[in-house]
Point group: C2
Chain length 136, copies 2
DNA sequence: ATGCGTGCAAACGATTTGCAGCCGG
DNA sequence: CCGGCTGCAAATCGTTTGCACGCAT
Protein backbone atom coordinates (compact mmCIF):
# COMPACT_ATOMS: atom_id res chain seq x y z
CA UNK A 1 0.00 0.00 0.00
CA UNK A 2 2.94 2.31 -0.18
CA UNK A 3 5.25 1.15 -2.94
CA UNK A 4 3.33 3.00 -5.65
CA UNK A 5 6.64 4.21 -7.01
CA UNK A 6 7.13 3.89 -10.72
CA UNK A 7 10.33 2.24 -11.72
CA UNK A 8 12.10 4.81 -13.84
CA UNK A 9 15.67 4.58 -14.99
CA UNK A 10 16.69 7.49 -12.77
CA UNK A 11 15.32 5.81 -9.69
CA UNK A 12 17.07 2.65 -10.67
CA UNK A 13 20.27 4.60 -11.17
CA UNK A 14 20.13 6.22 -7.75
CA UNK A 15 19.25 2.95 -6.08
CA UNK A 16 22.06 1.29 -7.98
CA UNK A 17 24.58 3.88 -6.87
CA UNK A 18 23.51 3.36 -3.29
CA UNK A 19 23.66 -0.41 -3.55
CA UNK A 20 27.12 -0.23 -5.03
CA UNK A 21 28.71 1.11 -1.88
CA UNK A 22 28.58 0.78 1.86
CA UNK A 23 29.71 4.35 2.34
CA UNK A 24 27.62 7.32 3.35
CA UNK A 25 27.23 9.69 0.42
CA UNK A 26 25.69 13.11 0.06
CA UNK A 27 23.01 13.79 -2.52
CA UNK A 28 25.48 15.91 -4.43
CA UNK A 29 28.11 13.18 -4.42
CA UNK A 30 25.62 10.67 -5.74
CA UNK A 31 24.56 13.14 -8.39
CA UNK A 32 28.14 13.59 -9.59
CA UNK A 33 28.79 9.90 -9.38
CA UNK A 34 25.85 9.17 -11.65
CA UNK A 35 26.84 11.88 -14.08
CA UNK A 36 30.37 10.56 -14.35
CA UNK A 37 29.07 7.08 -14.75
CA UNK A 38 26.93 8.21 -17.64
CA UNK A 39 23.58 7.73 -15.91
CA UNK A 40 23.01 11.46 -15.57
CA UNK A 41 20.08 12.29 -13.33
CA UNK A 42 18.84 15.70 -12.34
CA UNK A 43 20.01 16.84 -8.95
CA UNK A 44 16.44 17.54 -7.90
CA UNK A 45 15.49 14.01 -8.82
CA UNK A 46 18.34 12.64 -6.76
CA UNK A 47 17.06 14.60 -3.78
CA UNK A 48 13.49 13.53 -4.38
CA UNK A 49 14.46 9.91 -4.74
CA UNK A 50 16.62 9.90 -1.63
CA UNK A 51 13.83 11.57 0.25
CA UNK A 52 11.41 8.87 -0.82
CA UNK A 53 13.82 6.08 0.02
CA UNK A 54 14.52 7.59 3.40
CA UNK A 55 10.84 7.97 4.12
CA UNK A 56 10.34 4.33 3.29
CA UNK A 57 13.18 3.34 5.56
CA UNK A 58 15.11 2.08 2.56
CA UNK A 59 18.12 4.20 3.35
CA UNK A 60 19.63 5.66 6.48
CA UNK A 61 20.30 9.36 6.78
CA UNK A 62 22.68 11.19 9.03
CA UNK A 63 23.95 14.72 9.24
CA UNK A 64 27.52 15.92 9.08
CA UNK A 65 28.69 18.37 11.69
CA UNK A 66 28.04 21.09 9.19
CA UNK A 67 24.52 19.98 8.47
CA UNK A 68 24.93 18.12 5.20
CA UNK A 69 22.80 15.00 4.83
CA UNK A 70 24.49 11.70 4.03
CA UNK A 71 22.70 8.63 2.77
CA UNK A 72 23.47 4.95 2.82
CA UNK A 73 21.60 1.78 2.03
CA UNK A 74 21.83 -0.40 5.11
CA UNK A 75 21.66 -4.13 5.34
CA UNK A 76 19.17 -4.05 8.13
CA UNK A 77 16.01 -2.09 8.62
CA UNK A 78 15.87 -2.42 12.38
CA UNK A 79 17.19 0.29 14.65
CA UNK A 80 20.95 0.54 14.62
CA UNK A 81 23.76 3.04 14.65
CA UNK A 82 26.91 3.61 12.62
CA UNK A 83 30.61 3.86 12.93
CA UNK A 84 31.54 6.15 10.06
CA UNK A 85 34.94 7.01 8.66
CA UNK A 86 35.11 10.76 8.63
CA UNK A 87 37.32 10.86 5.60
CA UNK A 88 35.84 8.33 3.20
CA UNK A 89 32.37 7.76 4.54
CA UNK A 90 32.92 4.03 4.93
CA UNK A 91 30.48 2.81 7.56
CA UNK A 92 29.87 -0.17 9.75
CA UNK A 93 26.48 -0.87 11.23
CA UNK A 94 26.55 -1.29 14.95
CA UNK A 95 24.11 -1.70 17.76
CA UNK A 96 24.52 -1.31 21.45
CA UNK A 97 21.75 -2.80 23.52
CA UNK A 98 23.47 -1.32 26.56
CA UNK A 99 23.32 2.14 25.11
CA UNK A 100 19.72 1.75 24.12
CA UNK A 101 18.59 0.96 27.60
CA UNK A 102 20.90 3.57 29.07
CA UNK A 103 19.24 6.21 26.92
CA UNK A 104 15.76 5.30 28.02
CA UNK A 105 16.78 5.05 31.64
CA UNK A 106 18.50 8.43 31.69
CA UNK A 107 15.59 10.06 29.91
CA UNK A 108 13.03 8.65 32.31
CA UNK A 109 15.07 9.58 35.35
CA UNK A 110 14.84 13.21 34.23
CA UNK A 111 11.13 13.07 33.67
CA UNK A 112 11.33 13.00 29.90
CA UNK A 113 9.20 10.75 27.74
CA UNK A 114 9.23 9.61 24.11
CA UNK A 115 12.98 9.26 24.31
CA UNK A 116 14.83 8.95 21.06
CA UNK A 117 18.55 9.08 20.59
CA UNK A 118 21.09 10.08 18.06
CA UNK A 119 24.23 8.05 18.35
CA UNK A 120 26.87 8.00 15.68
CA UNK A 121 30.52 7.15 16.02
CA UNK A 122 33.08 8.88 13.84
CA UNK A 123 36.61 7.78 13.30
CA UNK A 124 39.30 7.10 10.73
CA UNK A 125 39.12 3.70 9.11
CA UNK A 126 42.19 1.52 8.66
CA UNK A 127 42.45 2.23 4.94
CA UNK A 128 42.34 5.99 5.35
CA UNK A 129 44.81 5.79 8.19
CA UNK A 130 47.23 3.88 5.96
CA UNK A 131 46.70 6.30 3.10
CA UNK A 132 47.37 9.25 5.38
CA UNK A 133 50.56 7.60 6.62
CA UNK A 134 51.89 7.19 3.09
CA UNK A 135 51.15 10.70 1.97
CA UNK A 136 52.21 12.40 5.14
CA UNK B 1 46.37 33.91 24.87
CA UNK B 2 42.98 33.51 23.34
CA UNK B 3 40.56 35.85 25.03
CA UNK B 4 41.45 38.76 22.76
CA UNK B 5 37.78 39.45 22.31
CA UNK B 6 36.65 42.98 22.88
CA UNK B 7 33.76 43.33 25.22
CA UNK B 8 31.14 45.09 23.19
CA UNK B 9 27.56 45.50 24.21
CA UNK B 10 26.39 43.12 21.49
CA UNK B 11 28.68 40.38 22.73
CA UNK B 12 27.48 41.01 26.24
CA UNK B 13 23.90 40.84 25.01
CA UNK B 14 24.35 37.52 23.27
CA UNK B 15 26.22 36.07 26.21
CA UNK B 16 23.54 37.38 28.50
CA UNK B 17 20.77 35.78 26.47
CA UNK B 18 22.61 32.49 26.61
CA UNK B 19 23.24 32.74 30.32
CA UNK B 20 19.60 33.49 30.94
CA UNK B 21 18.41 30.07 29.86
CA UNK B 22 19.32 26.42 30.02
CA UNK B 23 17.56 25.72 26.74
CA UNK B 24 19.12 25.16 23.36
CA UNK B 25 18.40 28.09 21.07
CA UNK B 26 19.05 28.74 17.42
CA UNK B 27 20.97 31.80 16.29
CA UNK B 28 17.77 33.19 14.85
CA UNK B 29 15.85 32.65 18.06
CA UNK B 30 18.53 34.44 20.01
CA UNK B 31 18.49 37.24 17.49
CA UNK B 32 14.73 37.71 17.87
CA UNK B 33 14.97 37.37 21.60
CA UNK B 34 17.48 40.18 21.76
CA UNK B 35 15.48 42.35 19.43
CA UNK B 36 12.33 41.91 21.50
CA UNK B 37 14.27 42.58 24.63
CA UNK B 38 15.52 45.84 23.19
CA UNK B 39 19.15 44.79 22.87
CA UNK B 40 18.96 44.58 19.10
CA UNK B 41 22.02 42.97 17.58
CA UNK B 42 22.64 42.24 13.92
CA UNK B 43 21.95 38.68 12.93
CA UNK B 44 25.41 38.36 11.44
CA UNK B 45 26.90 39.45 14.72
CA UNK B 46 24.87 36.88 16.59
CA UNK B 47 26.24 34.21 14.29
CA UNK B 48 29.78 35.52 14.59
CA UNK B 49 29.56 35.69 18.34
CA UNK B 50 28.10 32.21 18.68
CA UNK B 51 30.78 30.92 16.37
CA UNK B 52 33.46 32.49 18.54
CA UNK B 53 31.92 31.19 21.74
CA UNK B 54 31.58 27.71 20.28
CA UNK B 55 35.17 27.74 19.08
CA UNK B 56 36.28 28.68 22.55
CA UNK B 57 34.24 25.89 24.06
CA UNK B 58 32.08 28.46 25.81
CA UNK B 59 28.87 27.08 24.37
CA UNK B 60 27.72 23.70 23.14
CA UNK B 61 26.32 23.25 19.67
CA UNK B 62 24.11 20.56 18.30
CA UNK B 63 22.16 20.10 15.12
CA UNK B 64 18.47 19.52 14.70
CA UNK B 65 17.36 16.70 12.43
CA UNK B 66 16.89 19.28 9.73
CA UNK B 67 20.34 20.71 10.12
CA UNK B 68 19.69 23.85 12.15
CA UNK B 69 22.34 24.63 14.76
CA UNK B 70 21.29 25.10 18.38
CA UNK B 71 23.44 26.71 21.05
CA UNK B 72 23.49 26.52 24.80
CA UNK B 73 25.81 27.69 27.53
CA UNK B 74 26.66 24.66 29.60
CA UNK B 75 27.68 24.48 33.22
CA UNK B 76 30.62 22.27 32.49
CA UNK B 77 33.32 22.44 29.91
CA UNK B 78 34.26 18.79 30.08
CA UNK B 79 32.88 16.29 27.61
CA UNK B 80 29.22 15.53 28.14
CA UNK B 81 26.00 14.93 26.28
CA UNK B 82 22.46 16.26 26.47
CA UNK B 83 18.92 15.19 26.99
CA UNK B 84 16.97 17.80 25.09
CA UNK B 85 13.26 18.48 25.02
CA UNK B 86 12.29 18.45 21.40
CA UNK B 87 9.53 20.98 21.90
CA UNK B 88 11.02 23.63 24.16
CA UNK B 89 14.73 23.02 23.92
CA UNK B 90 15.09 22.55 27.66
CA UNK B 91 18.20 20.49 28.22
CA UNK B 92 19.87 18.47 30.91
CA UNK B 93 23.55 17.73 30.83
CA UNK B 94 24.32 14.07 31.12
CA UNK B 95 27.31 11.83 30.90
CA UNK B 96 27.58 8.14 30.46
CA UNK B 97 30.95 6.70 31.25
CA UNK B 98 29.62 3.37 30.05
CA UNK B 99 28.75 4.78 26.68
CA UNK B 100 32.07 6.53 26.36
CA UNK B 101 34.02 3.35 26.76
CA UNK B 102 31.58 1.44 24.61
CA UNK B 103 32.16 3.89 21.78
CA UNK B 104 35.92 3.56 21.93
CA UNK B 105 35.75 -0.20 22.22
CA UNK B 106 33.42 -0.59 19.25
CA UNK B 107 35.49 1.75 17.15
CA UNK B 108 38.72 -0.04 17.92
CA UNK B 109 37.22 -3.44 17.26
CA UNK B 110 36.45 -2.30 13.73
CA UNK B 111 39.91 -0.97 13.13
CA UNK B 112 38.93 2.69 13.41
CA UNK B 113 40.99 5.25 15.28
CA UNK B 114 40.44 8.78 16.55
CA UNK B 115 36.97 7.77 17.64
CA UNK B 116 34.57 10.55 18.45
CA UNK B 117 30.91 10.21 19.09
CA UNK B 118 27.74 12.13 18.73
CA UNK B 119 25.23 11.18 21.36
CA UNK B 120 22.18 13.27 22.06
CA UNK B 121 18.95 12.18 23.63
CA UNK B 122 15.68 13.77 22.58
CA UNK B 123 12.42 13.58 24.44
CA UNK B 124 9.51 15.55 25.78
CA UNK B 125 10.09 17.17 29.14
CA UNK B 126 7.54 16.96 31.93
CA UNK B 127 6.39 20.54 31.46
CA UNK B 128 5.75 20.19 27.77
CA UNK B 129 4.01 16.89 28.36
CA UNK B 130 1.68 18.58 30.85
CA UNK B 131 1.10 21.49 28.50
CA UNK B 132 0.22 19.13 25.67
CA UNK B 133 -2.17 17.21 27.90
CA UNK B 134 -4.06 20.38 28.79
CA UNK B 135 -4.41 21.63 25.25
CA UNK B 136 -5.12 18.27 23.68
C1' DA C 1 -4.39 7.99 -22.44
C1' DT C 2 -3.17 9.56 -17.46
C1' DG C 3 -0.82 11.25 -14.28
C1' DC C 4 3.45 10.33 -11.73
C1' DG C 5 8.29 11.47 -12.53
C1' DT C 6 11.83 14.47 -14.43
C1' DG C 7 14.72 18.42 -15.54
C1' DC C 8 15.65 23.09 -15.00
C1' DA C 9 15.69 27.13 -12.91
C1' DA C 10 13.89 29.97 -9.44
C1' DA C 11 12.88 29.92 -4.55
C1' DC C 12 14.34 29.00 0.21
C1' DG C 13 16.29 29.05 4.82
C1' DA C 14 20.33 28.86 7.41
C1' DT C 15 24.74 30.67 7.63
C1' DT C 16 28.75 33.38 5.78
C1' DT C 17 31.18 37.18 3.92
C1' DG C 18 32.61 41.89 1.82
C1' DC C 19 32.84 46.37 3.01
C1' DA C 20 32.47 51.02 5.02
C1' DG C 21 31.83 53.11 9.29
C1' DC C 22 31.99 52.66 14.51
C1' DC C 23 33.99 52.26 19.15
C1' DG C 24 36.63 49.82 22.83
C1' DG C 25 41.19 49.78 24.72
C1' DC D 1 44.33 56.70 17.19
C1' DC D 2 43.72 51.72 15.33
C1' DG D 3 42.19 47.55 14.51
C1' DG D 4 38.84 44.66 15.83
C1' DC D 5 33.60 44.72 15.71
C1' DT D 6 29.17 45.74 13.66
C1' DG D 7 25.39 46.17 10.49
C1' DC D 8 23.61 45.55 6.11
C1' DA D 9 23.16 43.47 2.06
C1' DA D 10 24.87 40.41 -1.21
C1' DA D 11 26.71 35.90 -1.68
C1' DT D 12 26.98 30.73 -0.52
C1' DC D 13 25.28 26.26 0.13
C1' DG D 14 22.43 22.50 0.65
C1' DT D 15 17.88 21.45 -0.35
C1' DT D 16 13.07 22.29 -2.03
C1' DT D 17 9.61 23.58 -5.28
C1' DG D 18 6.85 25.36 -9.53
C1' DC D 19 6.00 24.17 -13.99
C1' DA D 20 5.79 22.20 -18.63
C1' DC D 21 6.96 17.99 -20.83
C1' DG D 22 7.96 12.85 -21.01
C1' DC D 23 7.39 8.15 -20.06
C1' DA D 24 5.81 4.05 -17.25
C1' DT D 25 1.66 1.71 -16.58
Amino acid sequence: MNQQLRMTKQRAAVAGALDATDEFRSAQQLHELLRDRGDAVGLATVYRTLQALAAGGEVDVLRTDDGEALYRRCARTEHHHHLVCRSCGHAVEIDGPTVESWAVRVGASQGFSDIEHTIELWGTCADCRAAAAHSG
